[in-house]
Symmetry: C3
Subunit: 355 residues, 3 copies
């Protein structure tokens, strides 16, 4: 697969400086690119690499083009956002190579007669689609996918093998769900019924399950990582707004709402009924307890724990970096004695400053 620079510039709205007839066969980083590859400059610290690159052309902004043009040998592909255009061209090349499977239903799939499948959808082997479910145009369901009763998968969505969508859940257009993702499992709620509180051991107790009658609603362009779980709501729905990106092994509990464009890294856990704003960034393995509200553009550092609402945009943290264990342990022990250290300082102050 090969395109000229001019062809790419026309398709991706850029301006070419230099030889527009150069053939581009793929993409690569500045320092690894060969003479038939396209590279990009997004970070000024790599500006000198533009001078030495062997790439056929470099995606660049007007500003950096003006600075480096006279010193470089490559052609330039000038766009407002080189990294985003790089990503779009990389998608274009990938699609040219990796054709999606043909439309139609694999003979081994089990589709309830009342389900409505768009003719251009592609349904893989052993996939199960239950009663009254809806699958949109050009949607792609790989092998072993499960779509429960009355669930909806929007157009051009791609569900990888072993994805489970429980009954009544809704996925928008162009949603990607990676293998093993679970959408719509029961929220975790139980009413205790252990008898007389004064004699709690007197009878066998019981947790009464709170039925989870809400669903999960997922907006357009959401991506959901492998083995990530999103629980259905108790009475209202759990909502993932458009263009939210969720990494692998993330847990989102019942009745959460995640605002548009928010990005959630791997291993994050978000407890029930928490609302997260738009354009937030939640670092890997962070935790957020239930019933909180995070405003727009809140960022949380990896492995931090959010225990209070954070209405204001900003960067929040509560994580410690690892250091040699003996140093850590010596100091960690003192952490439990901060109150006595403070008391000793107070007493010193009383003595010294009253003197």
């Amino acid at each position: 697969m090969s395109f000229t620079l001019n062809q790419l510039a026309q398709r991706f709205s850029g301006r070419i400086a230099g030889d527009g007839e150069r053939q581009i066969e793929g993409l690569a980083p500045l320092d690894g690119a060969g003479p038939r590859q396209l590279a990009f400059l997004a970070n000024p610290k790599y500006l000198t690499q533009v001078v030495s690159t062997r790439a056929a052309a470099v995606l660049i902004t007007e500003d950096y083009f003006a600075k480096i043009n006279s010193k470089a040998f490559c052609a330039f592909f000038i766009v407002p956002n080189p990294y985003a255009t790089f990503a779009r061209i990389a998608q274009y090349f990938a699609e040219s190579v990796d054709k999606p499977p043909p439309a139609g239903v694999h003979p081994s799939a089990f589709i309830d007669p009342s389900a409505r499948l768009a003719p251009s959808a592609s349904i893989g082997p052993y996939t199960v689609i239950e009663a009254n479910a809806v699958v949109g145009e050009r949607a792609r369901l790989d092998a072993h996918v499960f779509i429960g009763k009355g669930a909806t998968v929007g157009e051009a969505s791609h569900l990888y093998p072993h994805v489970t969508v429980y009954h009544g859940c809704t996925l928008g257009a162009r949603v990607i769900a990676h293998a093993g993702a679970v959408i719509g499992s029961d929220g975790f709620g139980f009413a205790p019924d252990f008898g007389d509180e004064n004699h709690p051991h007197d009878r066998s107790g019981e947790w009464v399950k709170i039925v989870q009658t809400g669903a999960v609603v997922i907006g357009d362009d959401v991506e959901i990582g492998a083995n990530t779980t999103i629980d259905r709501g108790t009475m209202a729905d759990t909502v993932i707004e458009r263009s939210v990106k969720i990494d692998n092994l993330v847990q989102i509990a019942h009745n959460c709402r995640i605002g548009a464009y928010t990005v959630i890294a791997g291993c994050v856990g978000i407890a029930g009924s928490t609302t997260i704003g738009r354009h937030c960034m939640i670092g890997g393995a962070a935790g957020i307890i239930g019933h909180l509200i995070l405003g727009d553009r809140v960022s949380v550092a990896a492995k931090s724990l959010v225990t209070k609402s954070l209405p204001k945009a900003g960067f929040y943290s509560s994580a410690f970096p690892a250091i040699p264990r003996s140093d850590w342990n010596r100091n960690a022990t003192l952490m439990h004695k901060l109150d006595t250290l403070r008391a000793r300082i107070k007493q010193l102050e009383a003595t010294v400053f009253s003197a």
Copy 2:
């Protein structure tokens, strides 16, 4: 689906004050309920909402009924535990609407001839049940479930799609396992065999797998969340006692024992051979290292790490709340200097108090 208050009161052992012939069509919170819905009061801080609610009736205790009765317009449904009764009535409504699938084996399921399935069990498409496995009455196995050789699923259990039960594991009655849960995978154990310790790089080393010949035994009324994993024991079994509730993405390692009624929130990890008592509450993303013993009624805060046995009931924590990053980092750095701060305090004390 609709019931009168009197009908519900008879079925769920309550007393009605007010018009017992009112029709109830569903349940809702106090502030959102309409005139054909039933609400509940479990927390006294919502007492004033009972006065203003539009609900047909409110589930309430005798005590709160006595306090609020004269001021309210709704009927009352008086029970000892309004929240638990609310949960039971919600289940009743949900079951009336969402009929379970019919008994029988889907033609696409693969059942080994030596497996014993109760006639009232329901087995979904593409489910696999291996030799000598047993499935109890009214058990429901959804699509793509895997039951290994000699495993047992108790009566009225419900296994959602893509649940894997390894060979020889036992699930009690009314167990719920959500999509992707894995029960009985190998415990994580290896014997190092890297040759001469003084020349560890001299030969290619090897981890020798410890075969995991125990199983997992799960009691009645246990619920297991989506993509949660419970490893089989090394020689003895991993045991989950009755009515334990486990959320999504939890890891329980080999040879653990989890006591009855204990609740484990999402993303928790429990290392091997740890025993947890009854009625414990393990907060989200907490970690518990191996070979510990936690007593009954131990609660662990979210994201905390338990490194020592905790025989005494109580609430334990080691987690920090996130604060603005610059504040956090300024102080986190000092954490590594607590020992020098203490030394400086000591020296001050020596000077000041010896004077």
Copy 3:
């Protein structure tokens, strides 16, 4: 199944002291073994148990044999590494009892005609193998496994139910992947394209997906836990070197490289492009941020967060042990005031020592 001590000694290269004709039917710990079982001594603190054990024989080193021989009643099976030999004999017994499934393809499996399966491979029900995939001799794929286009599974590997191997990924020989493991899902990468940075709210933003054209390459003798996820690389591959052992619910992001013999406990998350050396030990629920380099023989404590490269071998930590909540909270609050405590110490020093 039963073997004499002499038979086992011949197969596993040991020397017998005592009656070599004793029959061994199984293995057990020193304190639980019966007269037809074999136990082992790996830790000198159990030396006295060797005197009292009822085991037929004890695996032991020459050194400990010399110390304890005269006091004990059992036979001895003398080897350089008793624990590793114990593990190997336990495997031998397990294999004698639990025969692997016969070679061949289950009639319900779906195999693309262009896939190449070794005749001795065993393929379970509903397993899907896509075009040009390769499955080696004696490989065992259980039910519901998915092998994507052009992926390779090495000889004698064992993939448990619901394992997903994405297109183009490679597994070496004797790889074990437990149920629900996902190998080769997309790395988590997006280019922001939200328009004018000065007016970020003016238009609907967009995250442009970075296509992930690398794969995952897994070496020989790797074990991967249940529901663990390993992402494919962006342009280059994610690499897991030989004999790496990975527990359940671990997330390994795109373009990581994990060095040979490294062990990763459950619930660990490793962010993108991080390289980990050989013989490392990563404790449960530890986190490692992206683009770091950890040297050989680095150990990280459970729940710690690595934020900087750690080139030097050693043990690193940043985790606090849980203590009673009231004690914890009283001191945790002071953590946020360490800078003012230090300032107070400084002022005291200025006053006291300048006096």
